[in-house]
């Protein structure tokens, strides 16, 4: 199967899986997870070097999900990759499950606990710096939300990444332009986003966050120019389910039975088209 078609199919399967998890658990960040599904799919099925049989492999690429709340797509991807049994997805958010509502490093494949916004980029700077100090070739990928960029610590880390010439660090902004209250530009404007990162010393690439050709090309950074890279991925919150697309209220909306049925039907149709 052609690579791009494979990735598209995989992303739809991940969406089905996450919708099922959220519907069954009665909780979750639906819109946010649908927004970053394609980014995660590109990373885990095309870009990053990871080994599910050896999650602590020293040479692995590191992934830090700074927007920790969009965890359902992450759990679905890790299970599909074989980091833990798919069956365990049914325990999502249930009593004492390790699959909680934010990344949890008790789960194989998860590097760090996140959930408080604005922490991931600093952690990633530390990891990328360690790679430089030890002459290791691994890369560090960090996913942030666009609403998250209001956290001041993000910009502390942005300066440090540039200061330490961390060209092995790739940031990704899941720029769906919506946060829990409404439009990100109304809540706290972050424009001009590309110029902000450029002025902090980063290489900036802007892509369609649902286009696998663009995503994989942008994420596969191999330049050693001393500059960290920021991939601004323009996305649609709730992507893949017409009811949820671009609706701020779906940030952590849990689908009703009717909505669930519609969503699953729509995703199944998307799979059929891709077969």
């Amino acid at each position: 199967m052609e690579k791009i078609t494979f990735l598209k199919r995989k992303a739809v399967e991940i969406r089905k899986s996450l919708i099922e998890m959220i519907y069954e658990a009665g909780t979750g960040h639906t819109g946010s997870s649908l927004s970053n599904t394609d980014i995660l799919t590109a990373l885990y099925y095309s870009v990053m070097k990871v080994d599910p049989r050896n999650p602590a492999w020293e040479e692995r690429d590191r992934y830090i999900q700074s927007k920790g709340h969009a965890v359902e797509s992450y759990w679905a991807v890790l299970a599909d990759k074989g980091f833990f049994p798919k069956e365990e997805l049914k325990t999502f958010s249930s009593f004492n499950s390790r699959l909680i509502g934010h990344p949890n490093n008790k789960v194989p494949g998860v590097e760090m606990n996140t959930g408080a916004l604005g922490h991931g980029l600093s952690i990633s700077v530390g990891m990328a710096l360690a790679a430089k100090l030890d002459n290791k070739a691994y890369r560090v990928f960090t996913l942030m939300g666009d609403g998250e960029l209001a956290e001041g610590s993000v910009w502390e880390a942005a300066m440090a990444a540039s200061q330490y010439q961390l060209d092995n660090l790739i940031g990704i902004i899941d720029r769906n332009r919506l946060q829990i209250t409404g439009n990100t530009c109304d809540v706290m404007n972050n424009e001009p986003l590309d110029k902000k990162w450029e002025s902090f010393g980063w290489d900036v690439v802007e892509v369609n966050g649902h286009d696998f050709a663009e995503l994989t090309e942008a994420l596969n950074v191999t330049t050693a120019n001393g500059k960290p890279t920021m991939v601004i991925a323009n996305t649609i919150k709730g992507k893949g389910i017409s009811l949820a697309e671009n609706v701020a209220g779906w940030h952590h909306h849990v689908p009703s039975k009717e909505e669930y049925d519609l969503a699953m039907k729509e995703l199944s149709e998307q799979l059929e088209v891709l077969s």
Binding site: G118, S122, L133, E156, A160
Partner: protein, 321 residues
């Protein structure tokens, strides 16, 4: 047990922060995984010689304490042994969420050294005092909390922390403190209190700079035939509960002395054990619930009664009741 306490006052001129730096430098020159992070604080942490000798192992993040702690967590998660040195007032407050999530919750092996702690920066005001740090750090799971009594203990503690696989917050002061120990040749174990003086009439539990205060108070009391036990609780968490219970049972009265708010610090930790296991009278000496008065450390200590004469008087009152 060997009596390890120094009697009388010493003329020590070496600050604990200098000992932190020289100890780390000796260890780091043999182990490249040891890295030290600063937030424009290499001068106040006495780390300039370290930075000159081992520039690759000194990581400067600028005045950005949140990033300081997050970067340290990332380094630790990648096999490094980071020591973070930053003023205790900022480290324990500005970056507390990073300490809670990136270090304690994620269990990254970072050692946080809060320098110029307590009222070391006395005249600079409440913004620069760190009198709530023990309360805050003590309440965070997976995080241990320590405070060395003098330069000798600082050396022993830092050396022990290199191979201690748990996140730790250590608070030290800014200025040289009078020696509490004769030298660094004594039994030091993380989590195990040191009985600096034995006694059966009353116990004083202290940590950090107040250990010397307790020892001096015990000497005053000795002259009046009152035998005071002095416990140096260098590890505030996990607290050596057995030492506290034993002291309560054997001496019947306890005074705690600390350079910290009377809420949530050493006194609270001791009182929690006493109340639950062996209720006896306890008196907490520390900084009351107010923005601390300004002045140098010695003046501030005197104002709040954190000196040998007052501590001895409190002991005498407790005994006479």
């Amino acid at each position: 047990m060997k009596n390890t306490a120094l009697k009388g006052s010493s003329k020590n001129s070496i600050a604990n922060r200098q000992v932190v730096s020289s100890t780390l430098m000796a260890l780091a020159s043999k182990n490249k995984d040891i890295v030290v992070l600063t937030s424009d604080s290499r001068g106040s942490a006495s780390l300039v010689p370290f930075a000159e000798a081992l520039p690759e192992q000194l990581i400067e993040v600028g005045i950005a304490e949140q990033n300081l702690v997050g970067v340290a967590a990332g380094l630790a998660a990648s096999g490094k042994k980071p020591f973070v040195a930053s003023p205790a007032c900022f480290l324990s407050m500005r970056s507390i969420e990073q300490i809670k999530v990136d270090i304690a919750y994620s269990k990254t092996n970072v050692k946080l050294i809060g320098i110029s702690g307590g009222v070391s920066y006395g005249a600079l005001g409440m913004s620069h005092h760190s009198l709530q740090d023990l309360a805050v750090t003590r309440a965070i799971p997976n995080l241990h909390v320590m405070m060395p009594a003098d330069r000798f203990e600082t050396k022993r503690m830092i050396a022990a922390l290199v191979d201690y696989d748990t996140p730790v917050y250590v608070r030290i002061g800014r200025n040289p403190v009078a020696d509490a120990y004769v030298n660094d040749q004594y039994e030091f174990e993380i989590g195990k209190a040191v009985t600096m003086r034995d006694g059966r009439d009353i116990t004083m539990v202290a940590a950090g700079e107040t250990v010397r205060v307790a020892l001096d108070a015990a000497e005053i009391l000795e002259a009046e035939n009152i035998r005071c036990r002095v416990i140096n609780m260098h590890t505030i968490k996990p607290l050596d509960e057995q030492a506290v219970i034993k002291a309560a049972e054997e001496t019947g009265r306890i005074i705690t002395i600390e350079e910290h708010s009377i809420y949530g610090g050493l006194g609270s930790a001791v009182a929690e054990v006493i109340a639950q296991h062996c209720p006896i009278p306890v008196q907490l000496l520390g900084i009351p619930d107010e923005p601390a008065i300004t002045g140098n450390s010695k003046e501030v200590f005197r104002h709040y009664g954190l000196h040998a004469e007052n501590t001895a008087n409190v002991a005498k009152k407790m005994i006479s009741l």
